[in-house]
Symmetry: C2
Subunit: 303 residues, 2 copies
C-alpha cells in the first residue's frame, strides 16, 4: 500500500457495538473487549471500544426514543432542538469520535445483527480505496463475507459509521433480536481481528497474512421494497416462504416475493434478475422495508 | 368420545393471539379471523377471537409493564392493588373468558411464537382427558407436532390459558421477535382448524377426519437451566453452537451446553439423557432460563 495515496496514518480505531440495544452480538463483544483490552490492541495504533446505546441495551430494545443509527445526519448533529436520548447519544459520540476532534477515530467498525440471513456482511462507510481494499481483504480471509452498500450518498447518510471516513458496519445474521448466537459471535470476532490486522499492516507497513484480491464484489442497493399494505399502512402480506432466508440469492421476474394472509402469491414484477437482501428484517417493518434489491458490481481495487 | 365423561358441551371457543405483542404469528392470525370470521365458525359452538395485548402489539414489544402471560395467578387477578397495564388486561380477559362468567370460554387456544426451534409445539392447559385427546389428535393430523408441559401445577399457573380447563397454547418457532414467518403462519392456521374440528366432533358427535391415537408423548419439564452468570447476574456464556436450534433432541452427560465468551465449553453435568427445549428463547434471558430440560412420557389416552 502507498501511504501517500491514502493520507495520514491511523492513530485510533473505534469498535462500536450495541448501537441497537437488542442486537446482542456487538454489545457482548464490546463487553468482552472491555474486560480483555489486549485482544484488540495493536502496536501501531490505539483501539477504543464503545457501547453506543447503553440504555437501549439495558432495556433489551432497539432504541429508547428513536433509532440511534439514523441520528448522524450532519444537520441533526448540529440541531440543538433535538434532545431525545438517542440524539444526545449521537452528539456525544460525534464529539468523541468524529473528525477534527482530539479523540477522533481514524477507523470505525460498527457491529450489528439482523433477523435476515445476511451471513457476514460488510457495509463500508463509503467507497474510499481504504474501505474497498479492506472489504476485498476480508473476503480473502473469509470467503463467506458479502459486501453491501446502501443507496444513500456519504453526505446524506444518517448512520453512525458515517462520522468516520474509514471503516464499516459488520452486519451478521440471521439472529433474532435479543439473542446471542455463539457461532456468529465467534465469526464476528474473527472478522474484527482481520480488520485490526489490515489496519496494522496499513499503519505499520507490516505484511498482511494474505494478499488483498484485485477485485471485490459489492451488492449495490437499487431499490427498497415495502410489504403490500392498506392505505392506512396495515400489512397485507408476508415475505413468501420461497424467499425467506434466501438473502443474496438471485430472483427473476415472476418469482414469488410475498404471500398474502389469504394465501395468494405476489410475484416480483421487475425487469431483470435482482439479489434481495435484508429480507424480513424485524426492525425494518416500521421503516417500510421488506427487502432491499441489489445488483452485484465487481470493483477493481487500486493496487 | 363419551360426553358424560367430559362434562358439558362446548358453547364457546376463544382463540387468543398477541398475548406477547412482538409474537406476530398469533396477532396477525387474529386480525385475519376478525376480517374473515367464517373461517373459524363451526355449527355447534361460537368462536370468539381476541388480540390480548393491543398496546404491546402496537409498540412491537413483548409487554408494556409486565409479562401478560404471567398475570393470571388467581391471587393476582383478585388483587386490586395490581394496576399495571397488563394486570388490567388480565383482569378484563378473565372477566370476559374465565370460568363462571356469562361469556366464559369452554375451550381456549393461546397463540405464541418462540425464537427457539420449537417447531409446532402444543402446551395443554392441564392433563384433563379432553386436552390429552386433543394433543393426540393434533399429532395424528400433523406428525411434526410436539407436546410440552411446564413443571408448575394448574393451580400455580400464571399463564393466560390457565383460566380455562380445556385448551392449549400453540408455540411455534424458530421465529425472531417482530417477524412474520409465512410458512409457520400457515402451519399454525392449519393446527387451529384441526383444534376446531376436534371440538366440533366432541360437541356435535360428528366423526373426526382421523382417529385419535391411543397414546401421546408429552415432553415434561424437569428442570430449568439458566445461563452461567456472575454474582451480579451478568451473562458469562452463550448457548453452545452444537445445541442451538436442536430443541427436542437428546443430550447426554458431557455434551456441550454453553460456550463462554472466551471460547470455553461448559458441558451438561446431569446424570442421564435429557431433551432440552426453549433453547435460547429471547424472552427468557430476563427470566433466567437458557433452556428447559424435559423427559418424554408416553401417556395412554382413555378411549
Amino acid at each position: 500500500m502507498n501511504e501517500a495515496e491514502f493520507g495520514n496514518l491511523v492513530k485510533r480505531v473505534a469498535i462500536v457495538g450495541g448501537t441497537h440495544g437488542n442486537e446482542l452480538t456487538g454489545a457482548y463483544l464490546i463487553q468482552k473487549f472491555e474486560q480483555f483490552p489486549d485482544l484488540v490492541q495493536r502496536s501501531s495504533f490505539e483501539t477504543i471500544t464503545l457501547l453506543a446505546n447503553p440504555k437501549a441495551f439495558a432495556a433489551g430494545r432497539r432504541y429508547i426514543d428513536r433509532d440511534l443509527n439514523r441520528c448522524f445526519l450532519q444537520r441533526d448533529l448540529l440541531d440543538a432542538t433535538l434532545t431525545s436520548y438517542e440524539d444526545q447519544q449521537a452528539k456525544q459520540i460525534y464529539q468523541q469520535l468524529g473528525a477534527s476532534h482530539d479523540t477522533q477515530a481514524d477507523v470505525l467498525i460498527d457491529l450489528h445483527s439482523s433477523t435476515a440471513n445476511m451471513g457476514l456482511t460488510l457495509i463500508p462507510a463509503n467507497s474510499q480505496p481504504f474501505n474497498l481494499r479492506l472489504a476485498a481483504y476480508l473476503g480473502a480471509v473469509c470467503p463467506d463475507v458479502k459486501v453491501y452498500q446502501w443507496a444513500w450518498s456519504a453526505a446524506q447518510s444518517p448512520v453512525l459509521r458515517s462520522i468516520c471516513d474509514w471503516g464499516c458496519a459488520i452486519e451478521v445474521g440471521a439472529i433474532a433480536q435479543g439473542v446471542l448466537d455463539a457461532a456468529l459471535f465467534q465469526q464476528t470476532e474473527r472478522l474484527i481481528q482481520a480488520v485490526l490486522d489490515y489496519v496494522e499492516a496499513y499503519s505499520s507497513g507490516s505484511p498482511l497474512p494474505l494478499p488483498v484480491p484485485e477485485t471485490v464484489t459489492i451488492y449495490q442497493c437499487t431499490e427498497m421494497v415495502d410489504y403490500p399494505r392498506t392505505a392506512e399502512g396495515k400489512l397485507l402480506a408476508m415475505v413468501h416462504p420461497h424467499l425467506q432466508f434466501r438473502d443474496y440469492q438471485p430472483i427473476a421476474p415472476g418469482d414469488p416475493l410475498f404471500l398474502t394472509f389469504e394465501g395468494e402469491t405476489i410475484a416480483y414484477t421487475g425487469d431483470s434478475v435482482t439479489y434481495p437482501v435484508f429480507i424480513n428484517e424485524a426492525a425494518y417493518y416500521e421503516k417500510g422495508i421488506a427487502m432491499c434489491l441489489t445488483q452485484p458490481q465487481q470493483i477493481h481495487i487500486a493496487s
